[in-house]
């Protein structure tokens, strides 16, 4: 069997991992296994490698071939294909569409649950609450339930920072 990375040497290291309900297989030669840090206790993650190999295709298809480039750091899709890593925090927005499918295959969910820096905790809660209220408002308007809509609109006004962040639909 051929090594899936260099496509030259014979694969002697075979890895199988199940992420969610997907089985991922990887066959590597000794050298590529070493280069990818399979013996490295800290940094090795199977998904890392799968990312370097298959993920860029997902990114490419998501952006329909356009060569996306991060406006902040200049990182491109080709760079991602090479390294399996992103360039900066803004890249997560630049490549958001392609990343979504990828994240689904390697994580339990698409939304962060857990620790939040204290300074951002309040804004995160407020943003979440505003989003929920907006959804409610939209539904009430669709249902032509103007009484509920008015109540929700009043509630939105009580959320700090609402005026700046939310455009209340007419």
């Amino acid at each position: 069997m051929q090594c899936s990375i260099c496509k030259e040497k014979t694969a002697t290291v075979h890895l199988t991992q199940i992420v969610g309900d997907k089985m991922q297989k990887l066959d590597l030669c000794e050298e590529c296994a070493k280069a990818k840090g399979i013996n490295d206790p800290v940094s090795f993650a199977m998904a890392d490698m799968m990312l370097g190999l298959g993920a860029s295709q997902e990114l490419a298809s998501a952006s329909a071939g356009a060569d996306l480039k991060c406006s902040r750091c200049g990182f491109s899709q080709a760079d991602f294909k090479k390294s399996g890593r992103l360039g900066c925090l803004e890249c997560y927005h630049t490549f958001a569409e392609g990343l979504a499918g990828l994240l689904k295959t390697m994580h339990k969910g698409l939304r962060h649950i857990g620790k939040t820096p204290e300074a951002l905790r309040q804004t995160r809660e407020q943003t979440d609450r505003l989003k929920l209220l907006q959804k409610k408002l939209k539904k009430a308007i669709e249902d032509e339930d103007y009484e509920v809509a008015a109540a929700v609109r009043d509630e939105i006004k009580t959320v700090p920072g609402a005026a700046a962040k939310v455009r209340v639909e007419k």
């Binding site: 890593r85 925090l89 390697m106 994580h107 649950i113 857990g114 620790k115 820096p117 204290e118 979440d128």
Partner: protein, 364 residues
């Protein structure tokens, strides 16, 4: 700057620490990945930017109360041998050992905390504890991280959580892991089904030493893989549950080996002792595999009066960089094999050969 080796606690001291279930769980570790807002990730940042990031982060980390007695150094100031020692101590990754200008390290003297600066992310911080203490390790690193977020502006997104260079670490940026000694499951040929069932739970199991999938010294590492969509507490709890089950399987495997194939077990342990106590040339790989069997013998009370820490100390001090560090001349691998054998023979001088069977009172 002082030598990292003289700064760290001695190998003998570090291997004498005790924790719950340390017969089987050698250590527990929790690592967090963090980045700061106003710089590209280390792999993409140019050298001046990495240096600037290091100059921001290094003093912030060094000033934490947990790091009051710490070693803080730029990677380009460390020699290859010192870097390798840090890898053997599990304080830095191999990837970080290859870093130079613009990367750094802060580690405290007791080795309970280690922070890599500009590895794959701006910050990779870990808490290390002996035995099964994943929860304690998480609490410790959580505290350190909360102190650090007061000083640094973290890259955090409301939807995606902590933003990391690699999407595999996104969200919590957490990797919870434990290092396990599983000779019973390996000798009983039960290790593969165990690995497969643990994999099905979304956790990774692999040999900590050796090439590819080979596990030298019967030492395995179990860790979480998913970081987004599950809280740190849930990940820690899940891993802890799985670890307790593996511990139970290992204890059962040892018990059943003693009942069904005692001669096979005593033969392995007796031969391991025979070689270690008498060899004049021995490779690092063979040493690890034989020490693992001796460790099992200590657990089975076949070596009365011998502490497990003697074996654990040799496990560390016979590794190439630790061995080389004790000598003044640079040695070839063949020469190291001679010195290693001398050292092991000397340390086992007062250890009597194993009992023919465990003492009757042994309840294991």
């Amino acid at each position: 700057m002082k030598d990292i080796h003289t700064f760290l606690c001695s190998p003998a001291e570090s291997t004498r620490r005790h924790g719950p279930h340390d017969r089987i769980v050698m250590s527990s570790r929790v690592r967090l990945a963090r980045n700061i807002r106003d710089a590209s990730f280390p792999g993409w940042a140019k050298k001046p930017e990495r240096v600037r990031v290091l100059e921001i982060i290094q003093p912030a980390v060094s000033s934490l109360p947990e790091m009051a007695d710490s070693f803080s150094e730029a990677m380009d100031n460390l020699g290859a041998l010192d870097k390798q020692i840090l890898v053997e101590r599990h304080l830095i990754s191999r990837e970080h050992a290859a870093k130079n200008i613009g990367s750094g390290l802060v580690v405290n003297r007791t080795e309970t905390f280690s922070v890599m600066i500009n590895e794959e992310d701006h910050l990779r911080m870990q808490a290390l504890r002996p035995g099964l203490q994943v929860r304690q390790a998480w609490n410790a690193i959580d505290t350190l991280d909360s102190e650090l977020e007061q000083k640094l502006n973290y890259a955090f997104d409301n939807e995606l959580g902590y933003l990391t260079a690699c999407p595999t670490n996104l969200g919590t940026g957490i990797r919870v892991s434990a290092m396990l000694h599983l000779p019973g499951l390996v000798l009983g040929e039960q290790i593969n089904p165990i690995i497969q069932s643990v994999n099905k739970l979304g956790l990774a199991v692999r040999g900590l030493y050796g090439e590819g999938t080979e596990a030298l010294g019967n030492v395995f590492q179990v860790s979480n893989q998913m970081t987004l969509g599950e809280s740190e507490a849930a990940i820690v709890e899940r891993l802890e549950k799985v670890l307790l089950q593996i511990i139970e399987h290992e204890e059962n495997a040892r018990q059943s080996l003693l009942e069904k194939k005692p001669k096979v077990v005593f033969n392995h342990i007796g031969r391991a002792y025979g070689i270690l106590a008498n060899a004049h040339s021995i490779s690092s790989k063979e040493t690890m595999n034989l020490l693992s069997l001796m460790r099992l013998g200590v657990d089975m009370e076949l070596f009365p009066g011998t502490e497990r820490s003697l074996v654990d100390e040799l496990f560390l001090t016979t590794q190439p960089a630790h061995l080389q560090k004790q000598l003044s001349d640079k040695l070839s691998a063949e020469e190291r094999d001679l010195i290693r054998a001398d050292m092991v023979r000397e340390r086992l001088k007062n250890v009597s050969r194993p009992l023919i069977k465990p003492p009757a009172s042994s309840t294991n």
